[in-house]
């Protein structure tokens, strides 16, 4: 099979890139080892926020920000996206100072933040314990969405747009040929593609290694709790500075609460589960911060497998060794909001060779610069490998 672009990974990044590429008229094959949107893209918390991101991510986040309200046109469903606002709470003066510093840093960007003192916070958000929260930073235009629907929705829309999606199809090996790439995937004929996108999330490492771009990609397992449906009281997506606990309430009434990390399953390392220590710790924090939760029941815990970089910035952009190859992985627990923007950037890079959105900070080469300097901070480029794992 010959296509313009082969994409490894059916998460939100891979599927949104596939859709954006089809819209620009390219032929696309997407290979997913499991099911599209079944990993981090589909099981994350569902925060759609720019606030709190490193400043260098804000232009990309802003690009994505414009896409979210248009989901219905783009993928046929709104994905339960609601611009509810996002509130970041300070529990002490140090945390408040940190929120203030962030707001100063973001002042020149499109992210509009409003700093709230204790009284204003208590007045506007009386469901937050005022003994704990002493102040906050509010981003009125951020919000939340349902990751299960958004990730599946992009996959379905990509399929309807003509992307060849192969699920339960692990990629066994990738290599560069004179004219593009050869992709060897389980159970399908060899795929030849002019461009290759490595959007394999926590599984992206071997596909970077294969082009001598070994990077320190780790795994994290964000841990989530959902309550039974309750009368809606939590009007905004809320978290504490530092991320020890964050929560949102969906229109149906369930509260989704995050914080802490799970662990990989002993019997299947590609899946993870919350830990008893983690979930009960977060439950206690949540009940203290949001007293309305005191008499609620938690009905389910879950976790997911997410690729993470040591500097918590993703790898996005052209390969440093191989023309036609684009990496987009390692979103480090904060990929959901920016993913639709990343899809557009990838499509731009492939069709025009450049992008209007600054992404230099996310170059894979940042890990090799340090190695070349001998700092030891990054992994040195590895020897060529033709097959992934």
């Amino acid at each position: 099979m010959k296509v313009d672009v082969a994409i490894i990974g059916g998460g939100l990044v891979g599927c949104s890139a596939a859709l954006a590429l089809r819209q620009r008229g390219l032929s696309v094959a997407l290979l997913e080892r499991g099911f599209c949107g079944a990993q981090a893209s589909g099981v994350n918390y569902g925060g759609v926020r720019r606030q709190g991101r490193p400043i260098e991510q804000l232009p990309l986040a802003q690009r994505a920000h414009a896409i979210w309200p248009k989901l219905r046109q783009l993928i046929g469903i709104d994905g339960e996206f609601r611009r509810t606002g996002q509130l970041k709470l300070a529990r002490n003066e140090t945390e408040m100072a940190s929120l203030e510093a962030y707001a100063r840093g973001a002042a020149s960007t499109d992210l509009k933040l409003e700093l709230l003192g204790a009284n204003a916070l208590a007045e506007r958000f009386p469901w937050i314990d005022r003994e704990i929260a002493v102040g906050a930073s509010f981003s009125a235009d951020d919000g939340q969405a349902n990751p299960r629907l958004v990730s599946a929705g992009f996959a379905a829309a990509a399929r309807r747009a003509g992307v060849e999606i192969y699920e339960q199809t692990p990629v066994l090996g990738v290599s560069k040929e004179a004219e593009g790439f050869l992709v060897d995937a389980q159970g399908v004929p060899a795929i030849r593609a002019a461009h290759l996108v490595n959007a394999a999330g926590a599984w992206a490492g071997p596909f970077a290694d294969a082009f001598r771009e070994g990077v320190p990609l780790g795994r994290i397992y964000p841990s989530m709790i959902v309550t039974e449906p309750m009368k809606v009281f939590m009007t905004v997506n809320t978290g504490v500075e530092g991320g020890e606990v964050y929560a949102r309430q969906v229109e149906r009434g369930n509260c989704i609460i995050g914080g802490q990390r799970g662990a990989a399953r002993a019997d299947d390392a590609d899946f993870s589960r919350p830990t008893d220590v983690g979930v009960t710790t977060v439950m206690q924090r949540a009940v203290r911060l949001f007293p309305s939760l005191k008499n609620a029941h938690a009905i389910r815990f879950w976790s997911g497998t997410e690729g993470a970089m040591p500097d918590k910035n993703p790898v996005i952009g052209q390969s440093s060794t191989t023309s036609g190859l684009i990496h987009a992985f390692g979103f480090s627990g904060a990929g959901f909001q920016i993913a639709p923007g990343v899809g557009e950037v990838i499509a731009e890079l492939i069709t025009t060779g450049e992008t209007t959105t600054p992404i230099d900070a996310f170059s894979i080469a940042r890990f090799f610069v340090d190695a070349a300097k001998g700092s030891g901070a990054g992994a040195p480029p590895q020897s060529p490998q033709s097959r992934g794992t």
Binding site: A266, D276, T280, H297
Partner: protein, 468 residues
């Protein structure tokens, strides 16, 4: 007890029904001191459930022909007190790496254990039909518990519908309790039930007892209909009647209570959390945790007993409970009587063979799926109807159960699909034209049942980090 055994953590038994009690007695006899955790306030499981408060009825009234077995097990378990640690009213909500998290009397404990016997039992298998969520419609098992444990009845004129041996047993028990049983509606055709005669030589008492129940009910004027289709429970704010088709003709019966169930399904969530391998079981159309004849699961140190690993009834549960305990004892390096183990396995084989005949007599009516109206509620917790499932599967191109859960919310509610999961699998299989074995099964998640948010934190706080 050997010195080595003293250094090891206690074995843990989950469930104090016939399987759990026999397992506990066997471990105690071998000099071990198990922990027995059970959700109920008193031992006995569902079948030998004890009343919450004494109600003046004796065991013969409560348990019928099974009274001697019930009394023997209750007595046996009472005699074990002091030789084991018994936690009634206690939910095991999570299992991981030799630790069970339990919620007990509003508090919690973390039980480290060495050797785990899961005797988690079974619950009613339900296929949603129109009106099944109306007040006054009970599951067959629920109808029986109300009568057995509380001395209450679900109505004054009752229709029992579904299929399986429990259908006839519960109807007969209600009749004996003096309630008007209007009719018994069986999804299985009468011809299927003739298969039961094959079991007559091996298990005459059971077959004849079933026949006697039917004869006694007929004499009391209970109507029987076989091979029914398009069952509906009808009423505005509560059940007022039942309608169904039989031989192409629509019938209607007035009633003020209904019992409904299509056999039983094993409670397998803990086996799932323990990491046990599952395999599809063609007979019961469900995925079951795998076990060998010695009741060892695929996970070392985890043993499966009773209906929780495959429906075979209370007598088999006692035997598999004992067999599982013998394996645990043997795996701890203690001596067991190989003759006893072999005898139990032989008896179990006979019962399993009988069970196969029984299930042929009362097949699950998967053909009902095609007839279900789109507005039939499937998932009560999340309020998802048949159309909701079909449309979600169709819109997103879904072919697998966990993906169906992601896009439709089926199995995301309080019961996590314990009630609706098998029906959803049937619907997904039917709407995608795939065999039900190919659509997979919902992955289990803790907590197995809802947990109060005020549950105390298990360990000192560890700093967390943000995730999207």
């Amino acid at each position: 007890m050997s010195d080595a055994a003293k250094d090891r953590a206690q074995p843990l038994i989950v469930g104090a029904g016939p399987a759990g009690i026999r397992a506990a007695a066997t471990l105690v006899a071998a000099g071990l001191r198990p922990i027995v955790v059970d959700e109920a306030p008193a031992c006995g499981g569902q079948i030998y459930r004890q009343p919450l408060v004494p109600d003046g009825r004796d065991a013969r009234v409560r348990y019928g022909s099974e009274a001697p077995k019930a009394e023997r097990l209750h007595r046996e378990f009472a005699g074990l007190q002091g030789k084991l640690d018994y936690l009634p009213n206690t939910l095991v909500w999570n299992l991981s790496d030799g630790v069970a998290d339990v919620a007990t009397n509003g508090g919690h404990r973390r039980l480290a254990h060495d050797g785990l016997i899961l005797a988690t039992g079974a619950m009613d298998r339900i296929l949603p039909v129109p009106g099944w969520t109306l007040p006054g419609v009970f599951s067959l098992g629920g109808s029986q518990i109300v009568l057995k444990a509380q001395g209450c009845v679900i109505g004054s004129r009752i229709v029992f519908a579904g299929t399986g041996p429990l259908l006839y047993l519960v109807a007969w028990q209600y009749m004996k309790a003096g309630v008007k049983v209007a009719a018994v509606l069986d999804a299985a055709p009468l011809t299927a039930q003739m298969a039961m005669m094959k079991a007559l030589p091996g298990f005459p008492a059971i077959v004849l007892r079933g026949t006697r129940f039917i004869a006694e009910m007929m004499m009391k004027g209970v109507a029987f209909h076989y091979g029914i289709n398009k069952l509906r429970f009808e009423g505005t704010s509560r059940i007022e009647g039942v309608s169904f088709e039989v031989r192409g003709k629509r019938r209607h019966l007035a009633c003020d209570g209904a019992g409904f169930g299509l056999g039983l399904k094993p409670e397998t969530q803990l086996a799932d959390l323990a990491g046990c391998q599952f395999a599809f079981n063609e007979r019961d159309r469900v995925f079951l945790p795998q076990t060998d004849t010695a009741r060892r699961s695929s996970v070392p140190g985890v043993y499966l007993a009773g209906d929780g690993s495959g429906i075979a009834g209370a007598d088999a549960a006692e035997m598999s409970g004992e067999r599982a305990a013998l394996s645990l004892i043997e795996d701890r390096g203690l001596a067991v009587d190989p003759g006893r183990a072999g005898k139990l396995e032989k008896e179990l084989r006979k019962i399993f063979a009988f069970r196969n005949v029984l299930e042929q007599s009362f097949p699950f009516p998967s053909q009902w799926i095609a007839d279900l109206p789109g507005d039939t509620m499937v998932c009560r917790c999340e309020e998802i109807d048949v159309s909701g499932i079909r449309d979600a599967a169709d819109h997103f191109g879904i072919v697998e159960m966990n993906r169906l859960k992601a896009v439709s919310r089926i199995g995301m509610g309080r019961c996590q699909g314990r009630v609706c999961g098998s029906a959803a699998a049937e619907l997904l299989a039917a709407s995608t034209g795939r065999p039900i074995s190919a659509v997979g099964r919902l992955r289990g998640q803790a907590p197995v049942k809802p947990l109060p948010m005020s549950y105390a934190a298990i360990a000192p706080a560890v700093t967390g980090e943000a995730a999207e």
